[in-house]
């Protein structure tokens, strides 16, 4: 039962603290840290087992890197290469150098100083991206630059994990005497000669790439076709855990392996589904990880030397800010954008906690120093929301006049998400895509996904009624959402969800019939179109022609009908919304049908010329000017 009671305590702390922290604008990472502090040092509910839990929770980092990899389509990386290598690369290298120098000045050995520099160069992806997204700053110049730097940092974690063990100077073996991390694993290969080890490692990496490219697609497709969602989730977990184990077996970093697998799968149709399946596990495990970091914070240390600790945290922020501000200047960021970039990234990040643990077990940094630094990093993160508030309230308003930012890029105007690529969605989608718009398509039928893939349309497999999948498809940045699901109720549901959650997105919805139009409008659709209406109009027009009517005459007949039907749709809306299909609704409809008969019956040759009969009608016989 101990497992359950522990789980109860951890979950309880998270469930209470995280929503509150979020509401206060502090973000979930800080919420977890604070929750950890409360159950650890403050209340003393959890204690010695945190280290063990932490090792388990570190798997969240592995998952996080898998997700980071999934986000990195090779094509996108290539497009951003200048920003990534230039801006991001300089930030990581420059900050590493400065903090390493500071470390040396404080009397650290060079290996420890370099490790320290690398770790503090990272910023908090979780806090910054979340804030940029929430405030809608991600598409600004400053937001984009921040994004590139965060991306570079996330990638830089991989070589850091590889380099850290090489910097070992023998501090290890302290309280956490196990050989967790680098030197760990690889025993399986230890008996092999060096060159063969290298061959095996290269073969494993090649296998991941090849299998990811060619094997995973049919496997995912097979499983998706079974329509067992939990098995799809199981497969995703199996994939991540399998790769982690494999990497561990050959003595490489599991994070590196899953990151690589993520990149390989980032082009796949199943990316969004994988993302939304792994995301909750990653979130919880990472949360658990931050909880244990919070629980491990040494309060005696903080209260023993508050000036030193806060001084270090503020020094860290000021230094990073100065470096980022300088880089922003070099890279031509102007006004408010430069401030957003420099203030936003000035904290240290959650990866520091991971790398600290790693550095400790590898024996790169002293345990006592790490205790202090963990506090410093946590405090710098705690101060981040304050920096964003400073930007929003003080700097941005003043900089508005200076920043002569050109209008948002065109590609911003064109983010379209289509849910449902059946007979209806396909037509809409093709029209938009061939007109040059950027469209993200979601569909839950593997066969459709496969077929569209064959003709070169980018389609993602998944159930569009799942909120996480919609989020994964980028609805928060979209301008337009087109709902074209077959299932009538699901369609209304998804429209309602999107209308409530993404208030800026314009929603166009396909409706079954007139009543569904009203339903969808009530659910929040800005416009609803009856699916069969236009097709039936065309068919009716064709029928008139086949009955011997002149094609142009048939067109205007159909147009008359169309206009009347539209008018009826508008007129009946109130009746329907008031009481559904009741007597008043039916009466109104009867009246409309009567009018329609009158409109359509005119001009059979024997009736006299009427005002309702419009369009290229010859004037009366005789001299028309009379």
């Amino acid at each position: 039962m101990e497992l359950l009671s522990d789980a109860f305590v951890y979950l309880c702390a998270a469930v209470i603290a995280v929503p509150i922290a979020n509401r206060l604008g502090l973000g979930s990472v800080l919420g977890y840290l604070i929750a950890g502090v409360v159950i650890g040092p403050v209340l003393g509910i959890v204690g010695s087992e945190t280290t063990e839990v932490q090792h388990f929770a570190e798997f969240g980092v592995v998952m996080m890197l898998f997700l980071v990899g999934l986000e990195l389509q090779p094509a996108m990386l290539w497009k951003m290469r200048k920003q990534l290598i230039g801006l991001g690369g300089l930030q990581v290298l420059g900050t590493t150098a400065v903090f390493a120098g500071a470390g040396l000045a404080f009397g650290l050995v060079w290996q420890s100083a370099v490790a320290l520099g690398m770790i503090l160069a990272l910023s908090s992806t979780a806090i910054v991206l979340q804030t940029l997204n929430e405030k809608g700053w991600l598409k600004t110049e400053g937001g984009q630059s921040s994004f590139s730097v965060l991306l570079t940092q996330d990638i830089a974690v991989i070589p850091m994990l590889a380099v850290l063990p090489l910097l070992a100077v023998g501090h290890g073996g302290g309280s956490q005497g196990d050989s967790h991390g680098a030197g760990h694993g690889g025993e399986a290969l230890a008996s092999l000669p060096g060159w063969l080890q290298a061959v095996v490692i290269l073969a494993v990496i090649a296998a991941i790439i090849v299998a990811g490219r060619h094997l995973m697609r049919p496997v995912f497709r097979f499983i998706a076709e079974s329509h067992l969602r939990e098995i799809f989730t199981a497969t995703a977990l199996l994939l991540v855990i399998g790769i982690a184990l494999l990497m561990d077996f050959v003595g490489l970093s599991p994070a590196l392996g899953t990151f690589l697998a993520g990149v390989v799968l980032s082009d796949s149709d199943y990316r969004h589904e994988l993302e939304s399946d792994i995301e909750p596990f990653k979130g919880l495990l990472l949360g658990l990880f931050f909880l244990t970091v919070g629980a491990g914070i040494d309060f005696n240390l903080l209260f023993g030397a508050p000036v030193t600790i806060f001084g270090l945290a503020i020094g860290l922020i000021v230094t990073k800010f100065a470096l980022l501000f300088g880089l922003g200047t070099i890279f031509n960021l102007k006004g408010a954008d430069k401030w957003l970039f420099a203030l936003g990234l000035a904290q240290a990040g959650e990866f520091a906690f991971v790398l600290f643990g790693f550095a400790l077990s590898a024996g790169v940094l002293e345990p006592a120093l790490l205790q202090t630094l963990t506090l410093v990093v946590a405090i710098s993160m705690l101060l981040t929301p304050a920096l964003f508030i400073l930007y929003e309230k003080v700097i941005a308003p003043r900089a508005v006049t200076q920043s002569n930012r050109p209008a948002d890029e065109i590609d911003r105007k064109g983010r379209i998400v289509i849910a449902g690529m059946g007979r209806f969605g396909q037509i809409v989608g093709r029209l938009l895509i061939t007109s040059g718009y950027d469209v993200v398509i979601l569909d839950h039928d593997p066969q459709t996904v496969e077929n569209l893939g064959k003709v070169g349309l980018k389609t993602f497999y998944g159930d569009a009624t799942r909120p996480d999948l919609l989020h994964g498809a980028g609805l928060q940045d979209a301008d337009l959402f087109i709902a074209a699901l077959d299932d009538r109720d699901k369609q209304t549901m998804v429209v309602e969800h999107v209308a409530k959650t993404y208030t800026k997105v314009r929603i166009l919805a396909r409706a079954r019939d007139r009543h569904h139009v009203y339903e969808l409008e009530q659910a929040g659709a800005h416009h609803a179109e009856r699916e069969v209406f236009e097709g039936a109009m065309t068919m009716g027009r064709r029928a008139l022609i086949d009955l011997g009517m002149h094609p142009f005459r048939a067109r205007s007949k159909a147009k008359d009908f169309w206009h009347h039907d539209r008018a009826m749709l508008d007129d009946l809306r109130e009746n329907y919304n008031d009481g559904g299909v009741d007597k008043s609704y039916i009466d109104a409809m009867r009246a409309h049908s009567q009018t329609l008969f009158e409109i359509m019956r005119t001009d059979h040759g024997d009736e006299k010329h009427e005002r309702t009969e419009r369009g290229w009608t010859p004037p009366p016989k005789g001299d028309a000017t009379l």
């Binding site: 419009r614 009608t617 004037p619």
Partner: protein, 205 residues
């Protein structure tokens, strides 16, 4: 105060260098109703009642359009065919437009010299606009000399657009304020380069 209706027709406003800016100018003048026909009726389903009501409610009707094939873009012909019905615009009981004024605001690609007896077109532009003039006559409307930009294809490069926009602005404002000499304009050949001669000075009427 006269009510001015601008009916504008350009099938590719996104490619329009002159007409679209002129239309923007018209939209900005108080007392002017500016209608983009291609935007309102992309399927050519002109709503006759709406258009006739508009005509009744205005005193000066402006056709603003490029001079396509010695005429206007097709939607304007469609508009005439449908809206100017017997019994409304002409015929024994068709008096709805009597006494109103009509003017073409148009752009021609060729230089003014092309529109003369010995020029490329062998006739001046006012006589080429005869179908519009005769239509106005039949409807009992006063046909005003056209407001034209010649050589429209090179107007941007020659920095003539803004001059012309300002003149259009002046014209519309004068019309709204009843300070445009309609009688004189009806007798003129054209008004574009001599606009000031037609704008009444001093107190508004």
């Amino acid at each position: 105060m006269a009510k001015v209706l601008v009916l504008y027709a350009h099938p590719r406003p996104d490619r329009s260098e002159i007409n679209q800016p002129l239309f923007e100018t018209a939209k900005g003048v108080q007392g002017v109703t500016a209608v983009d026909l291609y935007a309102e009726y992309p399927d050519f389903d002109i709503r006759v009642d709406v258009e006739q009501e508009r005509l009744r409610n205005h005193d000066i009707i402006i056709f603003q359009h490029p001079f396509y094939w010695y005429s206007a873009p097709s939607i304007m012909k469609e508009w005439q065919d449908l809206v100017l019905e017997h019994g409304f615009a002409y015929g024994l009981h068709g008096k709805a437009l009597v006494g109103k004024s009509f003017i073409n605001v148009t752009t021609a690609g060729a230089k003014p010299e092309a529109y003369s007896a010995d020029g490329l077109n062998h006739s001046d532009i006012r006589s080429l606009l005869a179908p519009f003039e005769k239509t106005a006559d039949l409807c009992g409307m006063r046909f005003l000399a056209p407001f034209i930009m010649f050589g429209a294809g090179r107007a941007l490069e020659e920095n003539r657009l803004n001059v012309h926009r300002n003149a259009y602005d002046d014209l519309l404002k004068a019309m709204v304020a009843d300070r445009f000499d309609l009688e004189k304009a009806a007798k003129a050949k054209q008004i574009s380069d001599v606009l000031d001669d037609f704008i009444l000075k001093g107190e508004a009427v």
